[in-house]
Symmetry: none
Subunit: 211 residues, 2 copies
């Protein structure tokens, strides 16, 4: 059973190259390759939807990012991989926010494109390495102040993690190979330090990043 892929790309040469390559793979077929979002929308109205679309950003008419929104609204099950030369953060994040399931740069080789599609069908999220790096950096820039170094000891942190993982005292005792009474003792100390008096409050504080 081969998976169906569609292409939206205005460069005729690239488009043809990718289509022929993918269509010749056992696992894939690529019956449709058009050069604008508008054409793809027309196609979708008269044919069964592909599982995956490769889409450029810079397109005649509607842009790939806008087009993705349009297509995902009517066909939310289609996974879309952006395939573009743009590597500036703004375009990347807009594409991801608009619903892209992957983001590849155009110098990606044909076999890598194929691998990316297969990875996507398998639940992954293909990204070119440089893109992945930018996405990760995004988290670190927006990192909320890592304040609140509560004076919990390492062991107390272990216990807190156990609580957050939803473990009972007994399960925590087992995880760290200590007595349940010791767990109790640690928890008492944690409550004192955090000025709380229930598991619930500790878990809430921890998940809110206040520990």
């Amino acid at each position: 059973m081969s998976s169906v892929v569609g292409i939206v790309e205005d460069n005729k040469k690239i488009r043809g190259l990718i289509q022929r390559y993918l269509d010749m793979q056992d696992e894939l077929s690529c019956p449709v390759a058009v050069d604008s979002v508008e054409e793809m929308v027309e196609y979708l109205e008269e044919h069964p939807a592909p599982e995956v679309l490769l889409m450029d950003i810079q397109l005649p008419g509607m842009s790939g990012i806008k087009g993705m929104g349009v297509i995902k609204e009517k066909y939310p099950d289609i996974d879309i991989i952006m395939l573009t030369v743009y590597h500036d953060s703004h375009k990347i994040f807009n594409a991801l926010r608009a619903g892209a399931s992957g983001y590849l740069l155009k110098h990606t080789s044909l076999p890598e494109i194929k691998e990316s599609i297969l990875k996507l069908l398998d639940g992954g999220a293909p990204m070119s390495p440089q893109i992945a790096r930018k996405v990760i950096n995004h988290f670190q820039e927006n990192a909320p102040k890592k304040n609140t170094d509560s004076d919990l000891t390492p062991r107390e942190h272990d216990i807190v993690n156990g609580l957050v993982d939803g473990l009972s005292y007994k399960m925590i005792a087992d995880r760290y190979d200590i007595s349940i009474d010791t767990v109790r003792a640690h928890i008492r100390n944690i409550y004192k330090k955090l000025h709380v008096n229930s598991k619930a409050e500790v878990i809430a504080k921890s998940l809110k990043g206040e520990i």
Copy 2:
């Protein structure tokens, strides 16, 4: 010229396996594999720093996430890849926020680990496919308003809020001026709908935005 990799992992077997495998690669060497952040910190004080660290999250003593902060502060040039069994969003995002340059799940094969390290050294950001997917989903969730219409009734939402605030059943009953038995009844229904069976899990889900 081979790149130097260090390992922090408390499972002796896994640690030894990875170390031997990496050390045998032409492109890499792995002179240090310890089972806690504390030991790695000691090592770093007396030896030249590795370029890359593989680090577990669940460790004796200081957790991998906290440990990463400590290490990155003194040695910001070390790239750290988390190598762990955890795939819940909070741990992933906390790790990335704390400065992780990659995040692999523990079922990753040795050759894949090697490839990930090389990719990292080449400016990429290695992630297991499931992780990449969650990271991407994060963008999409935070963009188009969280609509998460869980099928909780308004009253049930009240109760959940009470739990998140760390209140006991009795305090929730007082807050909404209903009987404690009613609170119990609501909570039972909430547990059924959310498929959980403890306050802790409800609080976790709620704070993760899954309600």
